[in-house]
C-alpha cells in the first residue's frame, strides 16, 4: 500500500483563549492573529517537513487548498507543489487539490497542473475537490446553487484542455473560451491521475466509480467515523459492478508514534488538542450555504437520521454540527479514533486494520498537526518511516495501483538543482 505524508500547514500560534475570544478559525478569523514574520518561519518549517518526509521514503507528499483559514495556510497549494517538484526527486506530489469552480477560467488549473507535472517529470496527482462551504461559498463568494454544476463543467474543460490536440472552443454553460490551447501539456499520458476528495455524497461515489477516479475521504474524525463513508463508496462500486481495488480509495488519518503509548500521549496531546480545540473552531453560520449539499445527500441524511443508521453521525449532520460535536480532549480524541497513537507496533497494527477494514490503498497521514513543533514532527515522521512503514508495505500487495503517477524514466529526468548538487541525505 501507499503511505503518503500530508501537510495542512496550520498557523501554529493561535492564542490559548482562541476558542473563547474568536467566533471562527475560518472565513472571518481576525488578521491581528496573523504575524507574517512568524508565518515566514512556519512556511519554511512546513516545507522542510514535507521535504524531509520525501527524503525518508514516504510515497507521496500531499498539500491542499484552503482560504481565509487559520489551520490551512495554502490558498495556493500549487506554489508549494512547484517548490517540492524542485526539492524532491522520486516522491509523488499530491495536490489535493484545486477547487475547480473557483478558477476563472478553470483552464488555469489545467495549466498549473501541467506545469507541475512537467517540472516534476510526471509525478503529479491531480486532486479535484469541490471545496468546503467555507472556502468556496463564503471566502470566495461562489454561488452555492451553481457550485456543483460549475465544478463538473470545469472538470470537463480541464480534461479537454489536457487531452485535445488542437485548439478548441469551449462553449460551456458557465465558461466560454474561444481558444483553449494550453502550453505546457502534462508529461503523464493522457493526464495525471485524478483523485477526488469527497464528503460522503452518493453522487460523488457514483461519479468516481463511473469516471474511474480515486475517491478520498479526508475526514478529521478518523477511521471509526470514516467507516460508514467508505462502506458507502464500496457498496456503490459493488452496485456498479466495479472491482474492489483498494487503490481506488484514499483516506486521511492523524498519527502519533512514539516508543510507547504513554509516551505518545505525552508527546502528541498538546498538538492534537490544539488542532481539535482551536483549529476546528468554525462558526456554524459558515457551514450550510443552501444548495451546497445536494438534495440527494440531504435526503440520504434525513433518512439515515430517521433510521438512526450507523452512519447517521456523519451523513445526517451538517459540517457545522460535526464541528460543534467534535471531541477536544486527548482521551476522547484517541478513543474516537481521530488520532491513532502508540508504539510503532501498535500504530502499524491499527493502520493495517484501517487499511483493511476501509479497503483503502492510499493512506494519507497527518504526522504534523496543530502546533506540533518541527522537531517533534521530524521525530514522528522518522519513527514512522523507519519502524511503521516497513510493517505495512505488504498490505494490499495483490492489487495493482492504476491511479499512481507514471513519471519519466529517471535517466531522462533533469538533475536538480543542477548547479549545486545536493549532499547525500544523512
Amino acid at each position: 500500500m501507499k503511505l503518503m505524508w500530508f501537510h495542512l500547514m496550520p498557523y501554529t500560534e493561535l492564542p490559548e483563549d482562541f476558542r473563547d475570544a474568536n467566533p471562527s478559525v475560518w472565513v472571518d478569523i481576525h488578521s491581528s492573529l496573523f504575524d507574517p514574520k512568524r508565518a515566514h518561519l512556519m512556511y519554511n518549517d512546513f516545507m522542510d517537513e514535507l521535504e524531509y518526509a520525501a527524503e525518508v521514503g514516504f510515497d507521496a507528499v500531499c498539500v491542499n487548498e484552503h482560504h481565509s483559514n487559520g489551520y490551512g495556510l495554502m490558498p495556493s497549494p500549487n506554489l508549494i507543489a512547484a517548490s517540492l517538484a524542485r526539492r524532491t526527486t522520486d516522491t509523488a506530489i499530491c495536490v489535493m487539490g484545486n477547487s475547480l469552480a473557483l478558477y476563472n477560467p478553470p483552464t488555469r488549473v489545467a495549466e498549473e497542473f501541467a506545469m507541475i507535472d512537467c517540472i516534476s517529470g510526471g509525478r503529479l496527482i491531480a486532486g479535484f475537490p469541490v471545496g468546503t462551504p467555507m472556502d468556496t461559498c463564503y471566502a470566495y463568494g461562489t454561488n452555492p446553487s451553481q457550485l456543483r454544476q460549475r465544478y463538473h463543467e470545469a472538470h470537463d474543460l480541464v480534461i479537454r484542455a489536457w487531452t485535445e490536440k488542437d485548439t478548441f472552443a469551449f462553449n460551456g454553460r458557465f465558461n466560454q473560451q474561444r481558444y483553449v490551447n494550453i502550453w505546457p501539456r502534462p508529461v503523464q499520458n493522457p493526464h495525471p491521475p485524478i483523485w477526488v476528495p469527497g464528503g460522503g455524497s452518493v453522487e460523488t461515489w457514483r461519479w468516481c466509480a463511473e469516471m474511474n477516479y480515486v475517491y478520498c475521504y479526508l475526514s478529521y474524525y478518523g477511521y471509526k467515523a470514516g467507516r460508514a463513508t467508505m462502506d458507502g463508496f464500496w457498496s456503490e462500486m459493488d452496485r456498479l459492478g466495479k472491482d474492489r481495488n483498494p487503490y481506488q480509495a484514499g483516506f486521511l488519518q492523524f498519527v502519533g508514534v512514539a516508543e510507547s503509548r504513554q509516551q505518545a500521549l505525552d508527546l502528541y496531546s498538546e498538538a492534537a488538542e490544539y488542532f481539535y480545540g482551536r483549529c476546528l473552531h468554525v462558526d456554524p453560520r459558515w457551514a450550510t450555504p443552501p444548495g451546497y449539499t445536494s438534495e440527494g445527500s440531504q435526503r440520504a441524511g434525513i433518512e439515515s437520521q430517521i433510521r438512526q443508521a450507523a452512519d447517521s453521525g456523519v451523513r445526517g449532520k451538517s459540517t457545522g454540527e460535526r464541528f460543534a460535536s467534535v471531541a477536544r480532549e486527548m482521551d476522547a480524541i484517541v478513543e474516537k479514533g481521530y488520532v491513532i497513537i502508540g508504539s510503532p507496533n501498535e500504530v502499524a497494527e491499527q493502520l493495517r486494520e484501517v487499511a483493511t477494514q476501509l479497503n483503502v490503498g492510499h493512506l494519507m497521514l497527518l504526522l504534523q498537526y496543530g502546533n506540533m513543533s518541527k522537531d517533534l514532527t521530524r521525530y514522528n515522521t522518522k519513527l514512522f518511516a523507519e519502524q511503521v512503514m516497513p510493517k505495512l508495505k505488504d498490505v494490499h500487495a495483490r492489487w495493482t495501483d492504476h491511479w499512481w503517477p507514471q513519471p519519466m524514466e529517471t535517466g531522462q529526468r533533469a538533475e536538480v538543482p543542477a548547479y549545486m548538487p545536493r549532499l547525500a541525505a544523512e
Binding site: C137, F174, R285, W286, P290, R299, I302
Partner: protein, 262 residues
C-alpha cells in the same frame, strides 16, 4: 381561513403552483425569502376584496426545482415574465415581498406596460457597503426565524410541517427555497437594480417593517428616489423583514388603501 384554488402551470419544464382566491380586480403577489409553504392570513385579507393570484417562483415552495435551470439574472426575469403571463397577471397590480419584491420591481422596469400599480415590501437588490443588508445565508439555524420576522414564532409556524406532510421532502423544500434565493442574489444581494429603477413608471407603494433586520430601512429612500413613477413609503410598526407575515392586517390595509386610491 379556507384554502385557495390551486392551478399548476409549466415553467421551463417544471410544474409551478398558482394559488387563486377571492373576487374583484386582480392582484398578484410574489413571496419573500423562504417562499410560502402554506396559505397565510395576509393573502386571506387581500382576498376579501380582490382576486389574489400567487404564483410560486422557481425553486420556492410550489416551484419545484425550476431555479436549477436559471443561470443569469435575465433567465430569472424571463421566467418571472412567463409565470405572470401564464397566471393571467399581465396588466394587473403586482405586489412582492423581499426577494419577490425585487423581481416584481424588475418586471415593472422592463415591461412597464404590463403592470398596474406596484407594491414593494423591503425588496432585495441593493447593497451599500456602509450599511449592508444582513447576510441571510450565513446564519445559525436558530437565528433565522428572528431575522425574518419580528415575532420568530410566526416564521416557525410558517415553516413547520403540517399534519401529514412528507417528513423528508418538507425540510428539503424549505432549504431549496433558501437556495433559490441564493441563486438569484448570492453573495451580496446586489443585482444592480438601482440602474433600472428609473424605468419603473408605475405608482409604487414601498412598505418596510419597522424592525426589519435584513434590509436597512434607508434603502426605501433609494427606491423612492430612483423610481420614476409616484411613490409612497409606509413603515409598518412592529413588523420585521417579512412584514406581511408579522402584521398581515396592517400590511393588507396599506396595500388595499393604496390600490383603491385614485
Amino acid at each position: 381561513m379556507t384554502e385557495p384554488e390551486t392551478l399548476t402551470i409549466d415553467v421551463n419544464g417544471f410544474p409551478t403552483r398558482i394559488w387563486r382566491k377571492g373576487s374583484g380586480p386582480k392582484i398578484g403577489f410574489l413571496a419573500g425569502f423562504g417562499g410560502l409553504p402554506r396559505w397565510v392570513p395576509f393573502l386571506e385579507q387581500l382576498a376579501r376584496s380582490r382576486t389574489v393570484i400567487v404564483p410560486s417562483l422557481p425553486g420556492f415552495p410550489g416551484g419545484d426545482r425550476g431555479h436549477s435551470v436559471l443561470d443569469s439574472h435575465l433567465d430569472w426575469l424571463l421566467a418571472v415574465r412567463d409565470i405572470l403571463d401564464q397566471a393571467g397577471l399581465s396588466g394587473a397590480d403586482l405586489a412582492g415581498s423581499s426577494v419577490g419584491a425585487s423581481l416584481a420591481a424588475e418586471v415593472a422596469a422592463l415591461w412597464p406596460a404590463t403592470i398596474g400599480k406596484l407594491v414593494l415590501i423591503a425588496p432585495f437588490g441593493l447593497f451599500d457597503e456602509k450599511n449592508p443588508p444582513t447576510d441571510p445565508w450565513a446564519q445559525r439555524g436558530d437565528a433565522v426565524p428572528g431575522l425574518m420576522c419580528a415575532d420568530p414564532e410566526i416564521w416557525k409556524a410558517l415553516k413547520s410541517p403540517p399534519e401529514g406532510a412528507n417528513s423528508i421532502e418538507w425540510p428539503i423544500e424549505q432549504v431549496r427555497a433558501n437556495e433559490a434565493a441564493a441563486r438569484i442574489f448570492w453573495p451580496l444581494g446586489n443585482t444592480r437594480i438601482e440602474k433600472r429603477l428609473r424605468l419603473i413608471k408605475a405608482p409604487t407603494l414601498l412598505l418596510w417593517g419597522e424592525q426589519d433586520k435584513v434590509m436597512p430601512r434607508t434603502y426605501a429612500e433609494v427606491f423612492a428616489k430612483g423610481i420614476a413613477g409616484p411613490t409612497t413609503t409606509r413603515i409598518i410598526a412592529g413588523a420585521g423583514h417579512l412584514a406581511e407575515l408579522d402584521k398581515p392586517a396592517e400590511v393588507a390595509r396599506e396595500v388595499l388603501g393604496f390600490l383603491e386610491a385614485g
